[in-house]
Symmetry: C2
């Protein structure tokens, strides 16, 4: 199982590099103004800077490796996805939603600030994501930019991430079967992960019919990622994870682990990662980072 | 003061027409799915359909009258702005924000559903706005669509509406002066109203330097609108308004009325409306609806 030493080293170095550039970009993007909006910007900075695996921006960059997309374009698209991801964490952590006090080892935004600031900070990062994609600095071609905007709006809205979060809230009230849990997770986490891969294909102007293997890779790692998350929720270390664990079982929610058991869930995740890498057989060393990400997704401890 | 009978009749007929088409468009846009996301869509429909003055879509259409923009494009841009407006009402009404129980004569979304559904319904309408603008049905030219996306993201984000809402929350803690209240309102309500006018200029490809009079019109009616709102908060009828009134004074917030007094605030609003109409002196009958809107803004009772 898993990748070799050089693939792990590649992942570590690229991952650190992306994380540093994303932090720097957020720092430049969100200067605290000298007016009554200061608290809003501080709340956005609290959530956006200095934390997280930055898996989504890394995935954008890894897919851009296949097509020689300009580093600046890849970073800006990764920054936009991370804005959406961070906004969703802020809102999901709210008392009315998952009611979490800790995130990435720090107090959640509504704990460090207040609920109103958290709601607005999330709303603002939501706008900033689209502002970044619409800017010509992201890509010179307006057809590309508008396709990115449309794809991100679909991935984050009711037919994507937010729709999945709604299903997740309903999961506490109903007993979902495996098909429904799979659909929930395809929306809740899969759609945004798929966008990361799709964004590179959009920038490279790959025809839609030639994106099948990339779509397959994204679907498989998205699901593997969620199964790994469910396993961590049962077996993980809350200190390493930087957030509360064991919450799904406490809430009586069905997950891949509750439905399949630990062993079958783990086997399923490994099968999905193998399948994800098989989708990349047409690519050479330029896809090594994508392969390393697939391995990492089920080997991570947080 | 005010417009004549025919201008009022024009406003009434166009306003009803826009409201009916916006309701119909929301109905088609938000079909309730047969899965665990049903409640999310029902919450969006509760907030989006059957209510409101639809001032922003009307303003888009009125400005489009100047440039012979296709009716379908104007409607879709109006629908996108209304998505943002409705999302902001849902979030602003939340207990952690303005804590309102009634809106447009109906229970607010978190009252009719629950807080989590309200947060997510707002988030989803936020995405849907950008999805609408990015779609080629809105406008054939991708340069136009991307400019619309960027302008809307700026108008709704931290440098626009959401930034203004943050200042409004801070207004309960500080004593703002007239300049700060003006800036707050220019962000909170002015930015989105200005987008409505700007959107028509973008679709007509009017050079930025030729938009000065339109920008002046938008700035003046935006401020007049807010002064009228402050006057209604003090003098209005809660049944007609369909929401609670008198909240600003109760919260100890400075408003145009608290700072200027009722008479000077009303005089200021009338001056702004006259000034707004003066910005339209270069246009003929094609600007009559814009003139009627300016008059309506300070004569409305809700």
């Amino acid at each position: 199982m898993g990748g070799d030493v050089s693939s792990a080293a590649l992942l570590t170095s690229r991952s650190r590099d992306v994380a540093a550039r994303i932090d720097h970009a957020f720092d430049l993007l969100l200067p605290v103004p000298d007016d009554a909006r200061a608290r809003l910007y501080e709340a956005m900075r609290h959530a956006a800077i200095g934390g997280g695996k930055r898996l989504r921006p890394l995935l954008v960059e890894a897919t851009c490796d296949l097509f020689n997309i300009a580093r600046e374009s890849a970073l800006r698209v990764g920054l936009a996805v991370e804005c959406i991801h961070v906004y969703s964490l802020i809102h999901d952590d709210l008392p009315a939603m998952d009611d979490d006090d800790m995130r990435r080892g720090k107090p959640t935004v509504h704990k460090a600030f207040d609920e109103a600031s958290a709601i607005l900070a999330g709303d603002c990062l939501h706008d900033v994501a689209f502002e970044i994609l619409a800017d010509e600095q992201t890509h010179a071609d307006p057809f590309v930019r508008i396709d990115l905007v449309r794809a991100l709006a679909l991935a984050s809205g009711p037919a994507g991430m937010a729709g999945g979060q709604m299903m997740d809230l309903e999961a506490e009230k109903s007993r979902f079967d495996l098909a429904t849990v799979t659909r929930l997770q395809n929306l809740k986490t899969g759609a945004l992960i798929a966008f990361c891969v799709e964004a590179a294909a959009i920038m490279a102007r790959i025809p839609v019919e030639a994106r099948t293997s990339l779509h397959g890779y994204a679907r498989d790692i998205g699901l593997a990622f969620q199964i790994a998350d469910d396993l961590l929720d049962v077996e993980g270390d809350a200190d390493l994870a930087g957030k509360a664990l064991g919450k799904d079982a406490a809430a009586g929610k069905e997950t891949f682990v509750s439905l399949l058991g630990v062993d079958r869930a783990r086997a399923q995740a490994h099968m999905l990662v193998d399948q994800a890498k098989a989708h990349l057989h047409g690519y050479g060393a330029e896809a090594d980072l994508l392969r390393a990400i697939a391995d990492y997704i089920i080997e991570r401890d947080r």
